[in-house]
Amino acid sequence: MRTLIKKGLPLVLIFIFSLSAQVHLQGSLQSMVYRWQPPDQESLTDFYQVLQFQLRSNALPGFSTRGYLRFAYRGPAPRWEDRFYHLYLQWQRTDRRLTLRLGRQFLYAGVWNGTFDALQVTWQSAGSLNLRFLLGSRAPFDRQWRWNASTEGMAYGVYLNWAGSSRLRITASILHQQKGRQLLHQLAGVGISGRLSRYLLYHTNLEYNIPGKSVQLFRHLMGYYREPWQVMVEWNHQKPRIREDSYFQIFQIRGFDQLRSSVGYRWHQWLFSLQYLRTWYDSDITNQWILGCSQQWGHVGIILQNGFGGQNLGVYGDVRYPLTSRFTLRAHSSYYNFQRHTVAIGEEATAYSLGLTYRHGPKLQLDADLQQSLNTYFRNDLRALLRLFYRFDI
């Protein structure tokens, strides 16, 4: 009962907030039924209910509550599971210069990456400076509604973004995560990006592990975007992210280096592309080539990989074709012929999916999907998804 009250508390707060006058509630509901069969088990029918909303009240100008929640009744021994992807209360000054956000929020800025239960303060100067402060804790990995400081400790950070001109933008950020007196993570990052000319772009990003005194990530890319061409070259060095309290700290921590390049050419509605990736590990190399062709309603690609990890030749295709303004046909297929480096036998994996989307006006959408996979373990794994999407505006 206590758990129910604790988990229901946010919804109760939202309900109370909504009782105030002149409330504007906007959002969507998604109901999904998914039928599938795990290995060596009976078929299962899982149910998912997703709620996304934004609540504002004219009585409380500047305030809003935003949420994205998922409830599921699934598994071999079905039970209700909840996930709170984000749920926060926000206050924003009328001129949008100052924003306060309290609650669970998904952050992606500099070295801040992930979902936090925190207070975030954002200040936007009249010029081009954006400054943010964060204080809280990482959300539990299962996204249940509970305070996770006992496992993930407390986190605080600062993020600064200065956009001088289109030629230069600088970001600087730091994130410190500590449990009791034990430091878990301390990362600092700097990003510089902009345009060297109208068509030539650059971006350099560095993340530094302060306690480890080592570069966690370094990425530099140059891009040339001039219709119909798109060319990009990137150098990437990255190390595994390991907590300071992890047992793995006793090992030599080595990263990998990667060269990544891509060329795209747009011809009318068609985009032809070729990507090449070469990854250097401590004592091995991986190569990947990806050839693709896409249109507004579809995409086909060929992937070829060899080296560390194994070999793979894959072909995949994806179609989203509007039959009418109400019906869209969706189809996907992939075929992979691969051999993992530790298993000296070739394997094949084929997948198909066929779906239809029906839109009844802008508010209601119905999707039906049939998914099938054939591989070393399943001669025929057939799954079905039925999804009802409803948008509301009260």
């Binding site: 990995f141 080595r254 996907h332 993992r340």
Partner: protein, 306 residues
């Protein structure tokens, strides 16, 4: 052979570029029309609807709201041949103003007029134009900003039909990898002046990064068999979504699946050797962390005492 291939590629590229240049579209300026909105609207205090009466009735973006010459005839003598030069630079070669082809099919001028919006709200620079220049059309950011401020829908499908090509040019072949940097840096110069939030909301990020993947949008079916290859190919960074490594061990434990490389010869106690697991750990320690984050002390400590 290589030189021949290179020449073919250069030839193909040049040909396609020239073809594109040849199909360039005409602009309002190229019509040769002489017209000053400033003269009509500001100096003669005319109302927009005097020339564009259809605007308040128009229900869809494709409606042509440009006035016909007959509308000019209400004030001007359009029959008088000697006055053609008043509006047309080259009366003998009159060209029509090219139709706006970037319209939004679902856009209703009527709906916006009923909501009390003045024409200048979306076309603020028109009244000050003293000659025919590029169209003064609102960009999507202004639409979104206005809708957001008024608490109106900002979903793509509120204004766009399913068959409209909405993907910007920046969403090229490597975009799945590069979007992270763009989102992190929030540098509009790298995204053709657009902010991610113009089209996407946080839930769109979370749908892929944290969602249930029932539509197989993030990872295709069969991914359970090919994920190790992809992880070691490093096309995607697994840890950008799966920071919580319990995710990996949960699945391997639930389905009682040992990783394929954990076979005979995987580890030994020969000093300086360690078997294959040593080699793999030096190459990719993240793969070990994926399952052994929580039980490293039990698994590793007997040999690698702290």
């Amino acid at each position: 052979m290589n030189r021949y291939l290179l020449l073919c590629l250069i030839g193909l590229g040049t040909g396609l570029t020239l073809f594109r240049m040849g199909t360039a579209q005409s602009s309002p300026q190229s019509s040769g029309l002489i017209f000053s909105h400033k003269l009509h609207v500001v100096e003669n205090e005319m109302d927009c609807l005097d020339c564009h009466p259809g605007a308040v009735r128009s229900e869809q973006g494709m409606d042509d709201l440009f006035p016909e010459m007959a509308a000019c005839g209400d004030c001007h003598d359009v029959e008088a041949e000697e006055e053609c030069g008043l509006c047309h630079q080259q009366p003998e070669e009159v060209a029509l103003i090219p139709r706006v082809d970037t319209y939004n099919r679902l856009f209703s001028h009527r709906q916006h007029a009923v909501a009390g919006l003045a024409c200048q709200t979306c076309h603020p620079r028109v009244k000050d134009k003293d000659r025919v220049t590029a169209y003064d059309l609102p960009d999507m950011a202004s639409c979104m900003d206005c809708h957001d401020r008024r608490g109106l829908w900002t979903d793509c499908r509120s204004c766009h039909l399913p068959d409209e090509p909405l993907k910007p040019v920046s969403h090229g072949p490597d975009f799945e990898h590069r979007h992270a940097d763009l989102a992190r840096l929030q540098n509009r110069s790298l995204t053709a002046g657009k902010d991610c939030r113009l089209c996407h909301q946080t839930r769109d990020c979370q749908r892929c990064h944290e969602g249930d993947n029932l539509e197989r949008f993030t990872h295709p079916l069969n991914y359970a068999f090919t994920h190790a290859l992809e992880a070691q190919g490093r096309q995607k960074d697994c840890s950008s979504c799966h920071r919580d490594r319990m995710f990996c061990v949960d699945c391997h434990r639930d389905f009682q699946v040992m990783p394929h490389n954990h076979v005979a010869g995987w580890s030994n106690r020969i000093p300086g050797d360690g078997g294959r697991h040593r080699w793999e750990a030096l190459n990719d320690l993240e793969a070990c962390l994926a399952c052994h984050q929580s039980n490293a002390e039990q698994i590793c400590q007997p040999c690698h005492g702290k």
